[in-house]
Amino acid sequence: MDSSLETAADREHLHRVVIDPVSRVEGHGKVTLLLDDDDHVREARLHIVEFRGFEVFIQGRPYWEVPVMVQRLCGICPVSHHLAASKAMDRVLGIPVTRSAEKLRRLMHYGQILQSHALHFFHLSSPDLLFGFESEVGKRNIVGVAAAYPEVARQGVLLRKFGQEVIRATAGKRIHGTGSVPGGMNRHLAVEDRDALRAEIDHMVEWSRAAVELVKRLHRADPALYDEFGRFRANVMSLVRADGAMDLYHGALRFRDADGKILVDKVPDQSYRSLIREQVKPWSYMKFPYLQQLGPDEGWYQVGPLARVQNCDFIPTPLAEAERREFIDHGRGEPVRATLAYHWARMIEMLHAAEVIRDLLGDGDLLEGALLADGERGNEGVGIIEAPRGTLIHHYQVGDDDLVTMCNLIVSTTHNNQAMNTAVREVARRYLDGRKLTEGLLNHIEVAIRAYDPCLSCATHALGKMPLVLELADAGGEVVDRVVRD
């Protein structure tokens, strides 16, 4: 794989251009470009500039706190962290999850997928797609979309709202709820909530279909752009169900190469370490994972909607499956690899989520049945879930005193780290190289990053340090903190 623009040869003689912050994404990141005197791009990097240290301070906490604490990694997909941690702790406690508890968690999770995909497409990305990458800055936001396409904006807002309401009904709160616990759930779905959600679900399915249609229309209107922008070869990874179906809550890991051939399949979640290793680079707090057997240069991969839709054998709901087939046919025998196809795949998943929710809402197990079982306590557990942005891995060890002794997290956006950097470089090479950079041209880079729906907030759970001295003065001029690093 091409890594020529990662590090320029003589960096001192180059001009620096920075996109800071990368906007309309969740979390903190920036892009730096180094250009020579003729405006040729010599280096392009997406830096993750924040750190938080969750993996370290979770150590020493009692295991039952963890599913609630880890949600604060991310307010956009808190449910994914809530459930990945719960699944890991199910293992620690040796508890087989009951039928009711698993269905309630699934409902919560698919609600999360629906809200997050709606948020990303309508609130964050649609301005680029509807107005153009170089359109007026002041208009490129959801308010601009609401003015120009009121019905699109309204459906987007209401789809997200519905997903949030599914979460509230199952977790108790829209953001940072407490519904799932190690070993099961702590509540059933209330009949009133079930009825309220059921009254609206058909609209949600309908509007999700309309969203898939909208993306397809965009593709048809400008095939050259949609099929070529940020296109490159990449491996893919996701969980799939035992029969090869898409399953966003539980499954085994499957890995395909850039030609679409299955390289590794049916790897149980507890053995993720036999598959994946991680590399650290000095210029980002986000690590670079890769498939161990291929090594860091060849083994990096994509996760998330584009990967999942092509990695599974089928989607187990009819409307989304029909859309998946059309999507696959679009590749004419090749995997679909264009960056903007992420949006198309994401909307297919949103439709799938709406269908799953509709089916679950008819299931009596949500209203009654055991929520917790008994088990035999162990000391280690891995929980893997397909979060909206891709595979999310939580791994814990817990001592006999119930305190966590080890926590390792590989979040979705981290898996996509190399892929996002590659997308940035592809776009820089193709659209920016040798040109005077304008805001609109630079936005091309952000469009490529946005397609991944990166959650830079999740991705910054690690810590870093800088060789500098800094004093922080309070509002009255008093020095309250001082940092010296060598």
Partner: protein, 184 residues
């Protein structure tokens, strides 16, 4: 709130420092009322717009505490430009969950996460000048700048944010009745 034709719109900026974006998500939890709000409010710098630096604004909403040099910089830029500055959520008010790192030694943490960990190849602590300097501790924002209002919660609900903003914009003293005032 209804008829605003001809009135200058209130300019609002939002940012996230060391937070999880949950408070911004709660902002979006105003749902349909977001579209109402858009009629009377104009957004300046925010994760939802492409404006990268905050200009003169009426209201600035801040999520998250202060954990690195860049946070300090952005926070001061907000204070300079915003007539009214509002701390939203536990992280901005007291550091929130990220402040759990305050009792840890950063050097140890770095080693643990980037070097001494199973599954890491060629470990090393990131140290590029493009990465902002970390502070030893996570600070609430009022330790760095003057703050006009605090809305508690992790996060405060969309309902609470709506009530607060419409009071403020309507020229009333913002009041959150008991059910809206939550700390979880």
């Amino acid at each position: 709130m209804s008829d605003s034709i001809g009135m200058p719109r209130v300019r609002v900026a939002t940012t996230s420092l060391a937070g999880c974006f949950g408070c911004h998500m709660s902002f979006l939890d105003m749902d349909e009322r977001l579209l109402e709000l858009a009629k009377i409010v104009e957004f300046d710098r925010s994760p939802l717009t492409d404006i990268k630096h905050c200009g003169p604004c009426d209201i600035g909403l801040i999520e998250g505490g202060v954990c690195n040099a860049e946070n300090v910089h952005v926070l001061r830029e907000f204070r300079r430009n915003c007539k009214t500055l509002v701390a939203i959520g536990a992280c901005a008010i007291n550091g929130g969950l990220p402040a759990q790192r305050n009792h840890l030694d950063l050097g140890d943490c770095l080693q643990q996460v980037y070097v001494g960990r199973d599954g890491i190849e060629e470990g090393g602590v990131p140290d590029d000048p493009e990465l902002p300097l970390l502070l030893d501790r996570v600070h609430p924002i009022h330790e760095v700048v003057r703050v006009d209002y605090f809305i508690p919660g992790c996060p405060p609900s969309g309902e609470a944010i709506w009530k607060f903003l419409t009071d403020l914009i309507g020229g009333r003293t913002p009041r959150l009745a008991h059910p809206l005032l939550r700390f979880d």
